[in-house]
């Protein structure tokens, strides 16, 4: 199944944007403590999604899963660039430096995601796929089906990895008590 009429592509994309931009911002706020970086990564994700919207096929998964897949890719590239000491975030040309009120807004969001950031830190010892599964389902609120699409793995594999990751985290938690 393909997307609806191309004549309303902008309206469709706006709807997807408005429904998911909060979750996208939170996704990066859990991973970065700098408001400008959160803004840059969110904008990069949205720009990529706008560019690839023509090839988005709702039959293969929800828009939310599709966007999280892009966000995960953007974040992985950001980490790779940061590891290489290169300019880590690509800035949307018109976005520029954020005004103070928007920085405050994002700083609040980053603060609100503190618990999520701690969980992500605890997950850092997990294998990448298990970590991704826990983050997307337990932190970002995706369904296992959506998380499977975002991570590009079969649903059964995702469920198995998710279950295994939760068990490991529980075990680790009990051992600390």
């Amino acid at each position: 199944m393909r997307r609806g009429s191309s004549g309303s592509a902008l309206a469709e994309f706006e709807q997807i944007y408005r429904s998911n931009v909060g979750a996208m911002t939170a996704y990066f706020a859990r991973r970065c403590a700098d408001p400008q970086t959160v803004a840059d990564l969110t904008s990069e994700t949205i720009v990529r999604a706008a560019g690839a919207f023509g090839s988005f096929d709702p039959g293969r998964g929800t828009a939310r899963a599709w966007l999280f897949g892009i966000a995960a890719h953007v974040y992985a590239q950001y980490c790779a660039r940061a590891a290489n000491g290169r300019d880590a975030a690509v800035r949307l040309a018109g976005l520029g430096e954020l005004p103070v009120d928007e920085i405050d807004e994002l700083a609040d969001k980053i603060d609100a995601e503190r618990a999520g950031r701690e969980l992500i830190e605890r997950c850092s010892q997990l294998p990448a796929l298990e970590r991704g599964a826990v983050e997307l389902v337990d932190l970002d609120g995706l369904t296992p089906k959506e998380a499977a699409v975002a991570l590009g793995v079969p649903r059964g594999v995702l469920r198995m990895r998710l279950s295994r990751a939760r068990a490991r985290l529980r075990k680790e938690h009990h051992s600390h008590e």
């Binding site: 309303s8 931009v21 909060g22 706008a50 919207f53 928007e102």
Partner: protein
């Protein structure tokens, strides 16, 4: 939505609205129900209201380019009109892609010539190898270099082809160049502009020596005994040499050609 989210949306629409613009309807369908389509379009535009206004306000007209990042990190560059080159470059810069679209222009003086892959970069030249878009992988551009994408007008469209990654600033234009295959022309100077031993209507139409460019014709650029036009693979072993048209007899309009046998 928060102020940041509103701000971001405005910028996305301003800069990338054209990417989301509906594609023009196929030409074949337009004539069939012309009156209805026109009426429908008018009503449709009125009904779409602010959303359409945003797109038209951002673009002003149909988009002249498309730079599309993909999930795998690659980027597709498409130039629909020459005016799209500058904004396409701005978009590539905004995306952090070290690539630049450079227009092929007659009379341009550049520090280097095109590679053999860009052989079709001759105005009015070979039409069997025209790409209207190209997909590049920014991750594979060597550090400190900028990938040059040559663009030229071809048959009412703008063709693009990846040229090379250059160190330092990329050229502002590229010249359409005479091409020879030194390893294949030994001892054979050609009659310029005319076909060589294996003429091809497709090739000779672009290399007839009438367009102010030297031509390449002859078996050196095609499989022996084949009447098919050469493919890009045939140019892989062909070196581009930029030199004055001295060899052979001059042909039509003083342009030299190279024909090998």
């Amino acid at each position: 939505m928060s102020k940041f989210e509103d701000h971001l949306w405005r910028e996305v629409v301003r800069q990338h609205g054209p990417d989301l613009e509906p594609a023009p309807p196929p030409r074949a369908k337009r004539w069939r129900a012309r009156p209805r389509v026109l009426a429908g379009t008018t009503l449709g535009l009125a009904g779409m209201g602010a959303v359409v206004a945003l797109v038209l306000g951002a673009a002003g007209s149909s988009p002249a380019f498309a730079v599309t990042p993909h999930q795998d990190g690659t980027v597709t560059v498409k130039i629909l009109r020459s005016e799209g080159i500058a904004p396409a470059n701005a978009r590539l810069t905004a995306l952090g892609v070290r690539a630049r679209v450079v227009q092929v222009a007659t009379g341009c003086v550049a520090p280097y010539a095109l590679t053999p892959r860009s052989i079709a970069a001759k105005p009015g030249g070979i039409k069997w190898w025209v790409h209207v878009q190209t997909r590049i992988n920014p991750g594979k551009i060597p550090a400190g270099r900028t990938l040059v994408i040559a663009a030229w007008r071809a048959g009412g469209r703008v063709a693009v082809v990846v040229d090379r990654a250059v160190a330092g600033a990329p050229p502002v234009c590229l010249p359409p160049i005479p091409l020879t295959c030194p390893s294949r022309v030994a001892g054979n100077s050609g009659n310029s502009g005319s076909s060589g031993s294996a003429p091809s209507p497709t090739v000779t139409s672009g290399n007839s020596g009438n367009s102010g460019n030297s031509g390449n014709s002859g078996s050196g650029l095609r499989p022996a005994g084949s009447n098919r036009a050469p493919t890009p693979a045939h140019f892989k072993s062909c070196q581009v040499v930029q030199r004055p048209p001295t060899s052979g007899n001059s042909g039509n309009s003083g342009n030299s050609g190279n024909s090998g046998s």
